[in-house]
Symmetry: C2
Subunit: 146 residues, 2 copies
DNA sequence: CAGCATCCATTCAGATACTG
DNA sequence: CAGTATCTGAATGGATGCTG
């Protein structure tokens, strides 16, 4: 992949999000959603799918499978269903033979990418520090148990 | 938990992050770090530890275990080690009997929380849409295979 | 007190085979 | 074409017991 879709529109959205002031007290439902969202985005495939759909606009199942390198058909189906359920993606079934199903990002799905821009930028800014910390830790002989 | 540490300083940091313009071409190393970071934060415990350390300043192992509700000792040790390795946390061993180990957030660790503010705010703004989408999906009789 | 080592149940993802 | 169903190995995380 080539990273988050950093076009101008996405960046504007990311900045608008950061300008908002969140309430002092966090709604438990929001908390649960955040945890779920982060977990979803971390699941390795969601972000990749988000990205290729953002780039291509609309894709069929097989086209997606080709674009998202390494994904199994099972994971593609599963991830797309979850994204559809969360309103990130629309699934359009054309009643033809052979079947044809189109997937497209929704506004909601596109803006989720923007929400993660902050993490992306942070990583860029702090990559050196993290790497240095890791080198120091490993050189000290310490290990992380598994 | 009560949500991300949304104090003024954290918010300023989040906004500063969002104002930066990322490069057009993403460094593969940054990409790998982003994926790792998101995965780490999604692992359920890292964020919680980040939060209680942010609130309390410095805590001993057992105090952390008490503050982070539900965490097993194994997961606490493992997560703390990973955070230490990544430079998010400092671990100070006092050579006394019984042993005493203090954990404290680093600047880097604190700023990571800020990087995720965008996701938090996004979730607050879009919770209703996601819930509506899920209700519609579930009502349609569709399911997500497991 | 602050861990490490070990065992075990559950989850998960990949491969494979089959279908409307 | 766009899936579903099933099997299996691997990774996770919790519980328990032990130690300097």
């Amino acid at each position: 992949m080539t990273g988050l879709p950093f076009d101008e529109r996405t960046l504007r959205e990311a900045r608008r999000i950061a300008q908002r002031t969140p309430p002092a007290e966090t709604d438990p439902k929001v908390e649960a959603l955040v945890t779920e969202l982060i977990g979803r985005v971390a699941d390795k495939w969601t972000m990749l799918i988000l990205e290729v759909l953002h780039q291509h606009g609309e894709l069929r199942f097989t086209q997606l499978a080709r674009q998202v390198e390494g994904i199994s058909q099972k994971m593609l189906t599963q991830t797309l269903r979850q994204m559809e359920r969360d309103g990130m993606v629309t699934r359009t079934v054309h009643p033809v033979i052979p079947p044809r199903v189109d997937y497209r990002l929704t506004e909601l799905g596109a803006s989720l990418g923007a929400a993660f821009c902050g993490v992306w930028i942070w990583a860029e800014e702090n990559l050196d520090k993290v790497e240095a910390a890791r080198r120091a830790f490993d050189a000290s002989g310490a290990t992380v148990r598994r």
